[in-house]
């Protein structure tokens, strides 16, 4: 007797497990059972598992009967002239979805030629073992597996053309590539996924050569001429959002240009871009500190002192301003309402991002790098025909990573560009490298893809021939403009008087505990003290009771609130954090007494 489980719940027994599971599969193929039902017969354990739950990853496979694919050329012909659809194939039981459980019972052939009588299924295409992003990588079969996953991971961050209606959407952190192109070296997945409708890169001419060390450690050198012509140029959109909140007591926020008697009024200059409705005018160039949406809020505390308050209800200023380091042009102003019926103001800022030193670029093979130098076009090496590459890629990035497909794509891209056609680089099913080489030779180039190149600085040819070709390059959304940060002096935290943390708050970089250890290990005591001086304070300490006293600036004298002014106080330099620590100790009832001693005694 074979035990039957449906979604891991025991439901009963059947006599013939093999027949039972085959019946379920047969019923599924003729449509008597939903196609998402999967079954697995475990002969060793004598158990049958029927899976119907949601959340299982299922994938389509071609059904095989007696060592022959049931999907015949006749079907393919019908598919080609659109008289048959995917759904029809499923309905006819030519294709079916398997989940990981049923895959245990299946034997799947990779190619149709591999089929034997033991096989139960056939892959639709060998590329199906890869995901969508990974199958966008051309010549993937020549790459190390790790590079494929890295390449696909990075492609997801590429700047591109994510939606055709981007100009009427308000999304967070949007990057739009100005001149997106379809790759010359394509894969099957580019056609399947309508890649030409949302491309995310450009075809560039790339030369594999170092350039005065400016492309070492994975950096790339980029041609200023290409940048000026629009290579990798993109626009960055960011929304500024504010809503008119309602408060208890019928009070409301108000979107206006704040009145001068509003609490926390900035300067008139800060409000200069606002129109009468309190919202910034479109196409105005705004920078750090400028008000985007003028807003006032009702006072925080309504009760108590009201009668005595001569000024009456003073409203608070609560405008949306650009924070430290932000700038842009107002692109779009949108007025709407949110779920609670509050007025919602959304302003979209736009900023053109021209590639600069530190911006990240990637080929489709996980070969990422940042721009190390933007070279004026006249200094870029040129070939015999006078052609100058857009990007100089360092050859040291290749041997260890073994991204052979990177080189193949360059070769393929070159052939495609010269012949004016797309090159098929579908993984496991790509065009032949030898054919590509032969074509290149026919076109009048060296068949290995190298060319004699000349230094633009000396005018002499390089001793080595340079490998040069066309490939698809993508700009990634990590741009220095969003990350660059420095601080010498700046804001401090109220509680600890230590510098703030993070770029947005113009914060400092923490010298942490392990960094401290290095100073101690070197015996650099004085340097260590100086580095931790950021919150130093001088406090008067009572010599009698050892507590922190008070400095009276009018009398220019310190006194101890415990011992009165009879006690003597000494000024001591300590970390403010330590003073805070003492206060906290006091708060749980411990008396921390500081015993003072002259350093010279």
């Amino acid at each position: 007797m074979v035990e039957v489980f449906i979604d891991n719940k025991y439901v009963g027994n059947v006599k013939d497990g093999k027949k039972f599971s085959e019946d379920i599969i047969a019923f599924r193929r003729i449509g008597k059972l939903p196609m998402e039902v999967n079954v697995r017969y475990d002969q060793k354990m004598d158990q049958i598992f029927v899976e119907t739950a949601r959340g299982r990853a299922i994938r389509p496979l071609i059904v095989v009967k007696d060592g022959k694919s049931v999907l015949t050329d006749k079907h393919l012909e019908q598919l080609r002239n659109n008289s048959l659809s995917w759904a029809d194939l499923l309905k006819q039981g030519l294709l079916e979805y398997l989940d990981p459980t049923e895959e245990e019972n299946a034997l799947v052939a990779f190619y149709e030629s591999d089929l034997t009588s033991e096989h139960t299924h056939l892959e639709i295409s060998p590329i199906a073992i890869l995901g969508l992003c990974t199958s966008l990588i051309p010549f993937g079969q020549f790459n190390q597996g790790v590079r494929l996953s890295q390449g696909s991971k990075n492609q997801k961050q590429a700047v591109g053309f994510y939606a055709a209606n981007y100009f009427c959407r308000i999304d967070m952190d949007v990057n739009i590539l100005h001149y997106p192109q379809n790759p010359v070296v394509k894969t099957l997945m580019h056609d399947v996924s309508d890649y030409e409708k949302h491309p995310s890169g450009q075809n560039v001419v790339i030369a594999v050569m170092p350039y005065d060390g400016y492309n070492m450690e994975d950096a790339v050198v980029i041609n200023r001429g290409s940048v000026d012509r629009g290579l990798g140029r993109s626009t960055y959109y960011r929304p500024v959002v504010s809503e008119e909140l309602r408060y208890p007591g019928g009070l409301m926020d108000e979107i206006v240009i704040p009145n001068k008697d509003v609490k926390g009024y900035r300067t008139e200059k800060d409000y200069r871009f606002l129109e009468e409705d309190g919202i910034v005018s479109a196409e105005s160039k705004v920078a750090e500190g400028d008000v985007i949406i003028g807003k006032t809020s009702p006072p925080r505390f309504l009760n108590s002192m009201d009668e005595y308050n001569l000024a009456g209800n003073v409203r608070r200023e609560s405008s949306m301003t650009l924070e430290h380091g932000e700038k842009g042009v107002v692109d779009l102003v949108m007025l709407s309402e949110n779920e609670e019926g509050n007025r919602l103001i959304q302003v979209r800022l736009r900023e053109q991002r021209i590639p600069e030193i530190g911006d990240k670029f990637i080929s489709r093979h996980g070969q990422k790098g940042v721009i190390g130098l933007v070279v004026p076009e006249q200094d870029i090496p040129f070939s015999e025909t006078g052609m100058r590459p857009d990007i100089l890629f360092n050859p040291h990035g290749l041997p260890k990573r073994m991204t052979v497909a990177h080189l193949m794509e360059m070769l393929g891209g070159r052939v495609g560009a010269m012949e004016g056609r797309f090159v098929d680089g579908t993984t496991f099913d790509s065009e032949n490298a030898d054919d590509l080489r032969k074509t290149l030779e026919k076109l009048g180039f060296k068949e290995d893809g190298t060319e004699v190149m000349y230094s633009s600085i000396t005018g002499r040819p390089y001793t080595a021939r340079i490998f040069i070709g066309n490939m698809y390059y993508q700009r990634l959304k990590h741009m220095v403009a969003n990350k660059m940060h420095s601080r010498a002096r700046g804001p401090i935290q109220l509680l600890t008087r230590q510098p703030t943390e993070g770029r947005a708050k113009e914060g400092g970089l923490r010298l942490g505990e392990m960094e401290k250890d290095t100073f101690v290990a070197h015996g650099a005591s004085m340097l260590l003290k100086e580095r931790f001086d950021s919150d130093k304070t001088i406090v008067p300490i009572c010599e009698k009771c050892g507590m922190i006293g008070v400095y009276d600036s009018r009398k220019n004298k310190s006194y101890c609130p415990v011992c009165g002014d009879t006690a003597e106080l000494s000024n001591v330099e300590i970390a403010y954090a330590f003073k805070l620590f003492m206060d906290e100790i006091k708060s749980f009832g411990i008396y921390p007494k500081m015993i003072l001693k002259s350093e010279y005694e």
């Binding site: 250890d517 101690v520 290990a521 015996g523 004085m526 003290k529 015993i595 350093e599």
Partner: protein, 392 residues
């Protein structure tokens, strides 16, 4: 050789180094050369000393800590010889430095005296060390319900191998159960023992429970030694054991107690004293680091071991051990459980003299290491005698 040349260095260089130099000098050597050598040795010795104010503790901590992070967590297996497995790698280092009383895999290396160390009776000796229980000699147990008795049939082969007779087993059993049961060999076969309850109300249940108890009765060997493995180490044969019992192993007449070691540091401390424990800590940590192919100067480990054992017992590097011994309240509080330390310090009115590094970092003062150590000494008049203006 002229001992006068060495005499002048006696107070300057440790005696061990002088002895080493003496031993490695060739037989015929001129005095001037010896003098030159000693000068160089002294120079080298001085150079290898830590300078005053060098933060040796922190450097030791980082020097052990950094390579430890690279250590793999997997345990090392004896190269195919046996099924014995020992904790090594980071878990072992943590175990040693934490000063855990109960370690996860105890192990001994028993060295033997002369005829046995050459391999004489090595298997027999190894077997005799191993702790055996009755269960290993029982072939079968059966309970006779009608007679309320239990029959134990003993494994003849095994008994004869260790030179025991059923009578000895009976003696062991009688010793284990002073009264309540009688043990007799059966009439037909002396290898079958009949066990009967002597009390009148013989409960079958009791007999049944006895069956389980019998299994664990200690018969012979050394308690605590779970497994034995004779191994050839270099020229001689030794016995590697899992489980440890230093005291009883030392009593065996064929064991060489000078070389026999265990990896249980607390046992070493108990039997051989704290100095031996100090050396054991050094050896154990150094062994793990060597095994992993890492390179840590032995002196860092020695320093850690010294600190763990200075209080005459082994203390762990944790808040119950050496951190507890720190004189500074703030230093202790900056490790774990700060509030506990601060409150306890306030109850006993402790004073923190701010003499070590961490407290001074906390209050932002110069730390007393390196450049922070030297001070200017100036004579100042006692306060109170003079007016404020003179005080600086």
């Amino acid at each position: 050789m002229d001992n006068k040349l060495f005499k002048e260095y006696e107070d300057l260089i440790p005696a061990k180094i002088i002895d080493d130099v003496k031993a490695s000098l060739p037989d015929k050597i001129s005095d001037s050369k010896v003098k030159k050598i000693m000068e160089l040795v002294y120079e080298e010795y001085k150079n290898s000393l830590a300078e005053p104010g060098e933060s040796v503790g922190l450097v030791a901590a980082e020097s052990i800590g950094e390579p430890s992070t690279q250590m793999t967590l997997n345990t090392f297996h004896f190269a195919g010889v046996s099924e014995m497995n020992v904790t090594t790698g980071l878990p072992r280092i943590i175990e040693v430095l934490d000063g855990r009383a109960e370690i996860s895999t105890k192990m001994m290396q028993i060295y033997l005296k002369s005829p046995y160390s050459e391999g004489k009776d090595i298997k027999k000796i190894a077997e005799s060390i191993k702790e055996t229980t009755l269960k290993e000699y029982i072939k079968e147990t059966s309970i006779d319900i009608a007679e309320s008795q239990m029959m134990l049939s003993l494994d003849e082969d095994k008994l004869s191998r260790v030179g025991m007779k059923p009578a000895t087993i009976i003696k062991v059993l009688e010793k284990a159960f002073a009264k309540g049961y009688s043990f007799k060999p059966s009439k037909e076969n002396e290898n079958v023992l009949i066990i009967k309850s002597t009390s009148k109300e013989d409960d079958l249940n009791n007999i049944y429970k006895l069956k389980e108890k019998l299994q664990e009765i200690y018969v012979n060997g050394i308690k605590g030694i779970k497994q034995v493995l004779p191994v050839r180490k270099g020229e001689e044969y030794i016995v590697v054991t899992s489980g440890s019992n230093l005291k009883d192993v030392f009593k065996l007449e064929f064991v060489n107690p000078d070389k026999t070691i265990t990896n249980d540091i607390f046992e070493i401390e108990k039997i051989l004293g704290v100095e031996a424990a100090r050396q054991a800590i050094i050896d154990e940590v150094a062994k793990v680091i060597d095994e992993q192919g890492l390179n840590v100067d032995l002196r860092h480990i020695m320093l850690v071991s010294d600190i763990m054992t200075t209080s005459a017992t082994v203390l762990g590097v944790n808040r119950y051990g050496i951190v507890k011994e720190k004189p500074s309240v703030l230093a202790r509080a900056s490790f774990e459980t700060p509030i506990k330390h601060i409150i306890n310090a306030s109850i006993s009115g402790e004073t923190d003299y701010l003499r070590s590094v961490i407290e001074n970092v906390m209050i932002n003062q110069v730390v007393p290491v390196g450049t922070g150590l030297p001070r200017l000494t100036v004579k100042v008049e006692k306060k109170g005698k003079k007016e404020k203006s003179e005080k600086e």
